[in-house]
Amino acid sequence: MRLEAKLALFNALSKLLLVLLGVAVIPAIVSRVAVAHTDQRLHEKKREVLDLIQRDGLVAFVRQEKQEAYADYNILKQEYISLTPELPRPKPAAPQERIFNEQRQVDDEVEDFRILSYQFEADNRPYRLEIGSSLATVELLEDTLRRLALWVLVIGAALTVVTDAAFARFLLRPLGDLISRKLHNVRHPSAFSFTPIPTTTTDFRQLDDSLNEMMHQMQSAFEKEREFMSNVSHELLTPVSILQTRFENMLQDPTLAHAHSLKLVDSQKTLYRLRNTVKTLLLIANIENDQYLREESVSLAAVVAEATNELEDRLAQRELHLRVLLEPDFVLPRANQTLLFTLIFNLLSNAIKYNREGGSITVTGVVPPQGGYHLSVADTGPGIAPENLPHLFDRFRRFHASGPKSPEGFGLGLPIAQTIANFHKATITATSEVGKGTTFTLEFQPIVAEQ
């Protein structure tokens, strides 16, 4: 999962948690706030009423018809104020002022009220002032507050999730650039771009710098390797070259005795063996040190066609029947045509060499269920003993002949084939049945789409 996606996910989850916490806590807080708010209003009302009494006197409130009490209700019965004369008592033991919840009957309806009750003396008579606010009103307020708080929370959370994701994206863009420009598209040290990624984030700067630094080191190691291989090639191949040309010149000498000519031809053979060994080792070393490019798109069917064309005569000479079943074809997007040719040529050449006269060779290509491609070359030769199979790709290993026509060794053709296969991220395996034949299978990986 990408870092950006992870951050966004984490962000969303933490916001969700916050919202859930809000849902759990907000009602309690809101109800406290609502009660406190109501109490404060009751206090304010009380002050107003006392102020009015002081200014206008108690008389203004006292209703003539009832003579003793004053009460006023609003129409919706949300609030009431009542002023009740009380029996004279010794100094009140109860507190002068209390707030409590109680039922009151207003007209014909009984309702829950939050009531402030206050005792005071006016005209030498004790009075009790009650100011009530309907609890339904309080709950209504509470509900409104709760809804508002939750909406603010949800919208805020959603908004911050979006802005956080956008910001994270902006912040992480240099990292994405780094990955796509410096890691994804680099298949060869020489293809690396040293252009610094523009960023003001120190961590990314550091990462980019270290990456450049590392790549510099790799490039220089790579260059040294190339130079070394080049020098080794020169040192090994120049003497061979001198001898080869000398033998050729000597063979043209008309005064040379026949016996010496034969010795020369023999020396030439030995020299060719040395030459081929050196060239093979250099080839393998160069492939393993990535000195070859993988930049062509190569069709396996085309390579097989090219190789079989080259080997046409050899097939005919041994009266071998070749069947090529490459439907569908497989095209490697990044490969080295010359090396793949060598690989296929070696496999086919082996299949010809170690086949029985009049036998057959079958080249088959299949797409396995998991993707990729399997190319197999099957011969009808004497087969390879099971104990020799694991060592087939070892360099310089020779087998004891197990039959008159069985190969004494596959020489360096198979190690080369294996190296080239690995170079193309393919594996090569061999299965064999003594007396029936051998099958070499190349397993190519599925093509990964380019970014």
Binding site: R226, M229, S230, S233, H234, L236, L237, T238, V240, S241, I242, L243, Q244, T245, R246, E248, N249, L251, Q252, H258, S261, L262, V265, Q268, K269, Y272, R273, R275, N276, K279, T280, L282, L283, N286, Q291, Y292, L293, N309, E310, E312, D313, R314, A316, Q317, T342, F345, S349, K353, G411, L412, G413, I416
Partner: protein, 228 residues
Amino acid sequence: MHVLIVEDEKSLHDEVRQFLLESQYLVDSAHNYADASEKIFVNSYDFVLLDLGLPGGDGLDLLREARQNDRQEASFIILTARGALDDRIKGLDLGADDYLPKPFSLLELQSRMQAITRRKFGLKRQEIVFGPGFVMDVQGRVLRHGEQEVPLTKKEFDLLHYLVLHKNRVLTRLQLGEHLWGNVLEDDSDSNYIDVHIKNIRKKLSQFASADFLETVRGIGYRVAENN
């Protein structure tokens, strides 16, 4: 034909020189960069055989230098043991006419030189007459006897062409094999593919005329003998 051999390895130089002299070329030599640079500038050569690793400079620079000089019409053949892939690409980009990795066969060198000459002088239809009336059309890759076509496979044609090109020389199986299979590394030098090819060629030729001119040199190889 005037050839300049640019090679610092004296033994190798001597062998190439001897071979070219015997093949009737006019040969000049340079053993280091400065010497080669001067000789290329002053003289006019048909061929420059260029080694890349030279004392005093890189052979590719020499090639670049020479190519900037309009007067130069020499064909360059790069001979290198460096075996580096990039050098080859660089060389052909800079206008080298051919490239032979060391170790190379002198016969191969000569046939490349002949091919370049043919190309240079626009010899579109080159025909070689040999044996009792065989005519080889190299460009068309056809062998005829009189009006009739001798049916040869690709490899058989190449093999016969190589032998005819170097007529009166004994070519060993190795030399023939190397020409046929080029850079493909063959580890069974004892294989008898060449013998089978020769046998088939003889069989095909003798249906038209005597194939005796294609001689076997016992224990060594094969030769096309000059018929006149």
